[in-house]
Symmetry: C2
Subunit: 138 residues, 2 copies
């Protein structure tokens, strides 16, 4: 029984558990009534206010499209743009209370562990937690 085989099986289970998350994406889209990248923008901004260029980087998209996304979120009252006092070229995008609420909803949907995982016995969960906790953070 090779470790490569075991790792392959382990990874297959993980992929199943997470990729059923595809309908979590759709769930987020439905719950928030916006495209998924907009929810990702909200979640990024819920962490801290950032510049437009930094937001584009975090969303792995380009500046013009980021402008479009933020325009829409601002129109929905979920974010505000403010002038950066340190550099007059720059805008800081901040999340509003309503935006934070939406971001929290999205986060809850995305991060909820599958019921079959939660249903594992405590000693199994403890072992998984311990082992997976060893993995490197890249």
């Amino acid at each position: 029984m090779s470790e490569q085989d075991a790792a392959g099986r382990i990874y297959a289970v993980m992929r199943r558990l997470v990729l059923e998350a595809d309908d979590r994406k759709q769930h987020v889209v439905d719950a928030l009534g916006m495209s998924y990248i907009r929810s990702r923008a909200l979640r990024a901004l819920a962490v801290e206010p950032i510049r437009m260029t930094e937001l584009a980087t975090r969303l792995v998209t380009d500046k013009p499209y980021t402008t479009l996304v933020v325009d829409d979120l601002e129109a929905r009252g979920l974010v505000v743009r403010e002038q950066d006092p340190d550099d007059r070229r720059c805008k800081i995008v901040k999340i509003t209370p309503a935006g934070r609420e939406a971001a929290d909803t999205a986060t809850r949907i995305i991060t909820a562990p599958p019921t079959e995982l939660v249903a594992l016995p405590p000693e199994d969960l403890e072992a998984l937690d311990r082992i997976l906790g060893k993995l490197q953070h890249p």
Copy 2:
């Protein structure tokens, strides 16, 4: 230390390991020189020949778009359409040897466990294999 917390942490690690798979999608797209759904179609057909309608169902897309995808794959010599002998309305789509090769490439890319997982000690891998093997297949 609640089980819900442990499950949340466990799931977060899984999500990280799998969602870095987003660049696996891109890797597949680059390696095969086609859109991702085309690679998914090839992988479905590599299992067994199926009807167009069944293929659309498996791809979770609609019949007109499935026609477009299969048209392209057929033009590339990766699949062939044949008349279903049991029902003259139906076509069976079969993969060609070249298509099978492309599907195998995609599968290899997608299913390869992350190196940090493979690098875990054997007893940890065995434990993960055993525990995750208990999860229900939905």
